[in-house]
């Protein structure tokens, strides 16, 4: 089959599968959060942990619970890495060095999964399973519950309560992530992803050479890596490794897993907010921009000039022949647009503009559709900004879902949009401005600049995707990266919860003919304009010196 047609069919099938899951999964998640009943296993867990499951928390309490939980997770993961040599199934790995352990702990707790290490040569199976995989579940869950708390802010009326962090967290893990992960793992194993406790051993090949065979509980970690938009690979090669991603179908299925929750959450939002059209608008904007991104990246890779590249049918360097160009760009766009950060190809070898699309996906603030939960709350905040500008133009104090955007709300929304570019640009500028970090850059010129900007954009957006070409396992990158990831994850989350709290206290204003319609193409267009001009263009000067300088001749 013609590769272009194959690519198109892959994408079409993907859209169909996501559309089929949108309503049932979205409604199911809404029920999970709105239900008043606890499962028996949950009740037992609450009793053991001493959680008052009936308590309804103020935004501050919700935020403190979230921070306390995440803080404990960072410490636990750090400790686990540092004592790994004494753990069973450590596969001969020694303790992870302190800076790297800190970076990795911060990275996995923030759902970033930036990896300054190679999995097979650094982490034993217990750290992978009890440390990293567990964080893959709970960090994803934290993202979702923060989004849900914000949605409750829109739903609720004259209250200062946003729900119960511990209950929300438990429910999303027990009722959504675990069951889906089990199903997904079975499918992956059927595709040939390994899942065992075999330690690394060396075998002799038929032609007399020697090969190191790796093993490990891969499928169980692989599935949540994609489903929870984590992206941290079991192996260094991530989803390019045949044990993580063996076939074109497993490739397609992993892409599907990355997208299924982010694209279903807008439905959860619409259902909970009592106006499904609002959910449709959000998902339409997310999907529209995601498709545009897929199209552009594929186009740039295909159109790449150069005889050799054209003969190969596109820019094939750094891409897996198993997946071909469409399978790589679809995966690449999706992984950067969902804050997964998994890779099945080498962005460093992409064309300048192809790589720029991956970078730009993250620069948009991870909202097309973004990470689980984070994408929804990011998009809702952008919708709040859009409503503010658009609402003024219809002559009313702007209101979204019946809640007015007053100075208090605007303060939190404005702080939110400030946090990410601040972390990304300051981190990148410091790394480029100082002597020592500059030595990590493997390619000179604009490409090297792109590598650094990419790294910090990825960490500040909690994506974890790496452009490669940057020796990031250094003291500076481990320390600065860990700080950027933690700041850029939790500071905005606090703002989101504060916004939720502020919204919940308001009385809902009834909709009238004078209210700005926040569904329908007009608002969608305005929202897209705000995303691109207000968020994306912030990075235009940086992009000019990187991909544009490299790509325009």
């Amino acid at each position: 089959m013609n590769p272009a047609l194959a690519g198109f069919l892959q994408a079409a099938l993907l859209v169909a599968a996501l559309a089929a899951c949108h309503i049932p999964l979205g409604n199911y998640m809404a029920r999970v959060f709105m239900s008043g009943r606890h499962l028996r296993v949950e009740s037992a867990f609450y009793r053991v942990m001493g959680i008052d499951a009936e308590a309804d928390q103020r935004w501050g309490t919700y935020a403190r619970s979230m921070l306390a939980f995440s803080g404990v997770c960072v410490l636990f993961l750090y400790l686990l890495e540092r004592i790994q040599q004494w753990l069973p199934y450590s596969n001969g790995q020694t303790a992870v060095p302190p800076f790297l352990a800190w970076n990795t702990a911060a990275s996995f707790v923030t759902n970033t999964n930036w990896q300054n290490y190679a999995g097979e040569t650094t982490m034993g199976y217990v750290v992978q399973m009890a440390g990293l995989a567990v964080q893959n579940f709970v960090s994803a869950a934290v993202g979702i519950v923060v989004a849900i708390a914000l949605v409750r802010g829109f739903m609720r009326n004259k209250t200062d309560r946003l729900g119960n962090f511990w209950v929300d967290l438990t429910r999303i893990v027990v009722r959504v992530l675990l069951p889906l992960a089990v199903l997904g793992a079975v499918v992956l194993m059927a595709c040939g992803v390994i899942d065992n406790f075999n330690l690394t051993h060396v075998i002799s090949t038929l032609d007399g050479g020697q090969q190191t065979m790796v093993g490990g509980p891969v499928a169980s970690q692989e599935v949540i890596k994609e489903l929870g938009n984590n992206g941290g690979g079991f192996f260094n090669a991530n989803s390019a490794h045949p044990f993580e991603n063996p076939t074109p179908f497993s490739n397609w299925f992993e892409i599907f897993l990355m997208l299924v929750i982010p694209f279903a959450l807008p439905r959860t939002f619409g259902t909970m907010a009592g106006d499904k059209r609002q959910g449709y608008l959000i998902v339409a904007v997310m999907a529209g921009l995601w498709l545009a991104s897929v199209g552009l990246m594929s186009l740039f890779e295909w159109q790449h000039a150069g005889t050799a590249l054209q003969a190969a049918g596109g820019a094939m360097e750094g891409k897996e022949v198993r997946f071909g160009l469409p399978g790589s760009t679809l995966f690449g766009t999706t992984a950067t647009a969902t804050s997964t950060g998994a890779v099945n190809s080498f962005f460093d070898s992409y064309t300048p503009f192809g790589g720029m699309i991956a970078l730009f996906n993250m620069m948009l603030g991870e909202v097309i559709p973004g990470g689980v939960g984070a994408g929804l709350y990011g998009m809702l905040i952008l919708a709040v900004l859009t409503v503010f500008i658009g609402g003024l133009m219809v002559g009313r104090t702007p209101e979204y879902l019946g809640k007015k955007i007053r100075p208090a709300e605007m303060k939190w929304a404005a702080a939110y949009i400030l946090a990410t570019p601040l972390s990304a640009l300051v981190g990148a500028a410091l790394s480029l401005g100082m002597q020592v970090p500059r030595r990590s850059i493997l390619n000179p010129g604009p490409h090297g600049l792109t590598e650094v900007i990419y790294a910090f954009t990825s960490m500040a957006n909690n994506n974890g995707s790496a452009f490669a070409g940057l020796a990031a396992n250094t003291g500076w990158y481990n320390l600065a990266g860990g700080t950027v990831m933690l700041t850029a994850r939790f500071v905005p989350m606090i703002f989101v919860l504060a916004l939720g709290g502020s919204l919940a206290r308001q009385q809902t204003v009834p909709e009238s003919a004078g209210t700005l319609r926040t569904h329908g193409p007009l608002f969608a267009g305005l929202l897209i304009g705000v995303i691109i001009i207000l968020v994306g263009l912030t990075y235009f000067p940086a992009l000019a010196l990187g991909p544009f300088a490299e790509g325009l001749h």
């Binding site: 640009l425 300051v426 500028a429 009238s512 004078g514």
Partner: protein
């Protein structure tokens, strides 16, 4: 002006003469078309004002003043930096950028100064009227005393609770309530109307304002406000902007603009290390230029002018908003409570039909009705005379004509009293004619031995049901009385009011008519006028309950009122417009005062509130959309030297790096001046649905904001490319 239609002012209402009390608690009185005495030019910008405001604009360069506007403060800091840089490394380019950056700040200050200047002119006019009055204080006086002990004190020494006596020709020394006497008062100092108004003790017309002048008679006034805190003092402070505080929406927008500014400052500051890495370090002037071009200077410069001008537009319409918050709330209003009389109907009813009972000629009824109305100078009475002439050609007769030639028996007119609720005439031949409220006249007929026909009851009920007021006409000739028929007095719904309500509906505003009429009458008028809902037989308590109910549902309510019993509702409403003719209590309770006392103005107030917000939103959108073109001008100019490929981004084909940057900065400064008139006037506003409004404004200010700078930056570049130093 700016697309807002002016409403016709209702003619003066005279207290209803005939039987049915008007019932509307807030019936306006003394409303006339305002005389244009001291209006300051409306929307258009007088170029002279720019010049006159220049000193103020320069004064505002003080960083302590400037920091209140974070966007322009950043530009000012940038200007200082470029000045420093230009002094060190002098060049045509450096000085051009420096000059235009300072001009950018100055233009922003100018916009604010011009807006304030208009208010100052108004305040000046008010101050002139605020003369130092000598008060004749009554020592130890209490209401009812007839003996006065007068001590003369300066008006500034009056205390709340003092009694002062004011006679014809004197200026009232302070705000207060008339406790004794009636006087005509010239209030042109505040309202701009030269015709005097009546102020009397008791009732809803007792408030007098310090600084106004008594023209006739003598009143005793109880002072209700301290010197320096009088209505005129507050007016001066308001129009001058001295008490101006940022409104909630303005604060929210400022937060957004400040955060955008910060983002762009970070984007540019972090660009320099990247530029160093790329071996294309930029000098200070270019970096400052990029920051200034990207931060939302257009809206930042015009934001406060928009707010001041919005308040000013209200002042132009003779409405004083006690806070900017109230103006904004007006734009958000969901429910308008409108008094029937004066707002929906013209102030008085008019005779529209003579309905005789069986056996009576219509002309005979008309004749009797006319006779009984000859001495009735109320509009209702006049309208009966007019209708009789129109329909039956019955000439108006004078009292003299009705007396018998001998002059022994004179016709005697019986005036209307609240007790009898009838008026009429006793003719020289002994025939008595009465006209009045149905119940009263029926009683009169019965008392005079007459029988009442059932038909009469049906007729009066029918008129009531149709929203009219029935006046029964009866005569007594030769001992027994009989009813002749009924005059149909009709409420005349104001022309064009139905379209206005339709507009309101399209804007999502529900209109509720408040009336003292019975539900039947109220329904009929509601249907005719197209109002969404009505509250009949409304008491102040009902009004209050309605407001609270609406507010509980999250709605914002606007209303007008003038009586003391309206005060609680005025205070409760989100927008409470007190009529200037009303009591001090009402004026204190409301958050706006309409000096023309025209309740229809509520609709205009809502539109002004909306226009204010739309102007802010439109200019914000325009400002942000402009960034795209500026990126395309400046980024290639900065880096095309090192990366020639980036020259491809120079899609405007600007002449040189220097001319490109200078063009963007010059455009950035000039657009502020170009938009000052728009900021002061407000964007064109046509009532329509939210979607239609958004679409229109997005096209003009969003898409226009994307395209316009490309054209003008190119244009400026074509000019300055000829200047040495830019080649």
């Amino acid at each position: 002006m700016a697309g807002i239609r002016s409403t016709s002012h209702s003619p003066r209402q005279v207290p209803s003469g005939e039987g049915v009390p008007s019932g509307d608690g807030a019936a306006p009185a003394g409303t006339r078309p305002p005389a244009q005495v001291r209006r300051v030019g409306g929307g258009l910008l007088d170029p002279r004002m720019l010049w006159q405001s220049l000193p103020d604009a320069i004064r505002k360069l003080d960083p302590r003043v400037q920091i209140r506007n974070p966007v322009m403060f950043v530009v000012e800091v940038g200007s200082v930096l470029t000045t420093y840089s230009a002094v060190i490394h002098s060049s045509v380019f450096a000085w051009t950028i420096t000059a235009w950056l300072w001009l950018t700040v100055l233009f922003a200050n100018l916009a604010e100064a011009v807006a304030e200047g208009r208010g100052k002119a108004q305040a000046q006019a008010l101050r002139r009227t605020k003369r130092e009055a000598v008060a004749r204080r009554l020592a130890g006086w209490k209401p009812g005393d007839t003996a006065y002990r007068i001590t003369e004190v300066p008006g500034t020494q009056l205390a709340v609770g003092d009694f002062v006596i004011v006679e014809a020709g004197e200026v009232i020394p302070g705000d207060g309530d008339v406790v004794e006497g009636v006087a005509s008062v010239d209030e042109s100092a505040i309202t701009g109307e030269s015709a005097p108004v009546i102020r009397e003790s008791g009732g809803d017309r007792s408030a007098v304002t310090g600084g106004t002048k008594v023209l006739s008679d003598r009143i005793i006034v109880k002072i209700t406000s301290k010197p320096g805190e009088t209505f005129i003092d507050r007016m001066i402070a308001l129009v001058e902007g001295a008490s101006r505080q940022k409104t909630p929406n303005e604060v929210a927008l400022n937060v957004l603009l400040a955060s955008l500014t910060l983002i762009f400052v970070i984007a540019v500051v972090t660009l320099q290390p990247m530029a160093y890495y790329s071996k294309a370090p930029q000098n200070l002037i270019i970096l400052v230029s990029l920051i200034v071009a990207l931060i939302p200077t257009t809206i930042g410069a015009l934001l406060s002018a928009i707010g001041i001008a919005g308040m000013d537009r209200l002042v132009q319409r003779n409405v004083l908003a006690m806070s900017g918050r109230a103006v904004e709330a007006a734009g958000d209003v969901n429910t308008l409570l409108l008094d029937k009389t004066g707002t929906i109907t013209i102030g008085n009813r008019q005779a529209s039909e003579f309905l005789p009972v069986a056996g009576v000629e219509a002309a005979y009824l008309a004749d009797a009705a006319q006779l009984s109305s000859l001495a009735d100078e109320t509009p209702e009475g006049r309208s009966v005379v007019v209708l009789a002439k129109e329909r039956f050609g019955i000439r108006e007769r004078s009292a003299g004509e009705l007396s018998d030639p001998a002059g022994q028996h004179r016709a005697v007119f019986v005036p209307f009293t609240a007790q009898t609720r009838m008026s009429g005439v006793d003719l020289a031949d002994g025939r008595q004619i009465r006209k009045g409220a149905a119940a009263a006249v029926r009683q009169w007929v019965r008392d005079n031995g007459g029988a009442l026909e059932e038909e009469l009851g049906r007729m009066t009920d029918g008129i009531s049901a149709a929203g009219g007021t029935p006046l029964v006409v009866a005569e007594k000739a030769g001992g027994t009385a009989r009813a002749l028929g009924v005059i149909h007095l009709k409420d005349i719904v104001k022309e064009g009011i139905a379209e206005r309500f339709a507009e309101m509906r399209a804007m999502g505003i529900r209109t509720v008519m408040i009336t003292g009429d019975n539900p039947l009458t109220a329904r009929a008028i509601a249907e005719e006028s197209g109002v969404d809902d009505f509250l009949a037989e409304a008491t102040p308590e009902d009004k209050m309950a309605l407001i609270k109910k609406e507010q509980e549902g999250g709605k914002l309510v606007a209303m007008t009122g003038d009586g003391t019993n309206d005060a609680p509702a005025l205070a409760q409403a989100d927008v409470g417009v007190a009529m200037n003719t009303g009591t001090m209590a009402a004026k204190e309770a409301g958050n706006m005062v309409d000096l023309d006392s025209n309740p229809t103005k509520l609709i205009e107030i809502v539109q002004i509130g909306k226009q204010l917000l739309i102007t802010r939103g439109a200019l914000t959108t325009f400002s942000i959309a402009n960034d795209v073109a500026k990126y395309f001008a400046i980024i290639p100019a900065m880096f095309a030297g090192v990366f020639p490929g980036l020259g491809k981004l120079n899609i405007m084909h600007l002449h040189s790096a220097n001319s490109a940057i200078a063009s963007a900065i010059i455009f950035n400064a000039l657009i502020i001046v170009a938009l000052i008139p728009l900021a002061l006037r407000g964007v064109r506003y046509k009532p329509s649905s939210a979607s239609a409004m958004l679409r229109r404004n997005l096209w003009i200010y969003g898409v226009g904001g994307l395209i316009i700078p490309f054209i003008f930056i190119k244009g400026i570049d074509l000019i300055i490319m000829n200047v040495p130093g830019f080649r």
